[in-house]
């Protein structure tokens, strides 16, 4: 179907689409070609557009090519990264286990700390109580209370 085209529309179409009739909208091509032949203003615009088309065609294609390495474009697959993750988690687990063992065994050197002479220190170190009985050095049978709280001499007086 051919649509009638005014001079103004013809100029707008040529400005947007250029001078090549094959690129014009199908339904307006015939009317546009007729105007180019009949209207000097449209004919001049068409000639100008042809010049600009040639310039733009050259500009658009004047880009040096480059070949991309397809293999290098592929990122390292997730599967290949998995062992690294496992190693990382194992490392973190080992570090956590080391800290836990260190806590269970106590801080190195803590057992060797000796209080100043004549000073009694209340203790709540269950492991040491089990081994040593009480801070007073008496070999009383261990009971629940002594495991939780071993009073000093002054505290013994209050009890």
């Amino acid at each position: 179907m051919t649509i009638k085209v005014t001079q103004e529309q013809a100029l707008a179409l040529i400005t947007a689409y250029g001078a090549e009739a094959a690129r014009w909208p199908d339904e307006q091509r015939a009317a546009l070609l007729a105007l180019v032949a009949a209207d000097p203003l449209v004919a001049a615009a068409h000639a100008e557009a042809a010049q600009l088309d040639r310039l733009l065609g050259g500009w658009a294609m004047d880009v040096p090519p480059r070949s991309f390495d397809a293999e290098a474009l592929i990122p390292v697959p997730a599967k290949a990264r998995a062992p690294f993750k496992v190693v990382r988690w194992l490392g973190a687990g080992a570090a956590a286990a080391s800290v836990a063992v260190a806590l269970l065994l106590g801080v190195p050197g803590a057992q060797t700390m000796v209080p100043a002479e004549g000073v009694q220190i209340a203790q709540n170190d269950i492991s040491s109580q089990v081994l040593l009985g009480s801070a007073s050095g008496q070999s009383e049978p261990l009971d629940g209370f002594s495991l939780v709280f071993t009073p000093t001499a002054d505290e013994e007086d209050l009890i």
């Binding site: 250029g18 010049q51 065609g57 500009w59 070949s67 991309f68």
Partner: protein
């Protein structure tokens, strides 16, 4: 200018893309060969910056692999999908940037043309055109490159730039008017 014929038909590209979705590296290499040229021309012309264009195309080609599962043949061609990826990357890159050359530069560029007159005029015009192109926005340059270089229709350009064919008509029209104004003193435009 006649558009460069595509190395692969749309159906062949879609077939390659399906194989890429299954992790086929050979198909991916073929897809890269088919799309790198048009992708680089589009990015280079839109950005007016060769190094940036190469970066953009590298990322876009890589996305063909990493985002392969997102491609849906029922929604469009591989080429159209790729152009859209390239354009989005270009526009992301250019969003904050503005043209650097003042308008006067377009008219004041000294010609470095050799002695034969025709060659001299041609080179001079080419240099002036490059400078004039810097005055356009990336979307206008991209539309001109797709229309005049790749021979795409208004509808195909509209798809790449995520707009309507009518808007592309306006975009191209304004770009050509602007170029004509900038180049008029150096071209033998009639009328």
């Amino acid at each position: 200018m006649q558009p460069i014929p595509s190395l692969q038909t749309p159906d062949q590209l879609a077939g390659l893309m399906l194989r890429v979705q299954d992790g086929d590296r050979v198909a991916f290499a073929a897809l890269v060969r088919a799309l790198e040229g048009p992708g680089l021309r589009l990015a280079d012309r839109a950005l007016a910056d060769r190094a940036a264009a190469e970066d953009v195309v590298q990322v876009a080609l890589s996305r063909l692999w990493t985002m392969a599962e997102r491609f849906d043949a029922s929604r469009g061609s591989v080429s159209a999908w790729f152009r859209r990826i390239v354009m989005n990357l270009c526009l992301d890159r250019k969003r904050a940037a503005r043209p650097m050359q003042p308008l006067e530069t377009v008219a004041d560029i000294a010609s470095a043309a050799p002695s034969p007159e025709a060659q001299a005029i041609n080179n001079d015009l080419k240099t002036r055109l490059e400078a004039a192109m810097q005055m356009l926005v990336p979307r206008q340059r991209a539309a001109l490159a797709m229309f005049h270089g790749e021979g795409l229709s208004m509808a195909e350009i509209a798809e790449a730039l995520e707009t309507t064919p009518k808007a592309i008509e306006g975009l191209l029209g304004r770009a050509r008017i602007e170029l004509k104004g900038l180049l008029a003193p150096h071209m033998d435009f009639e009328g």
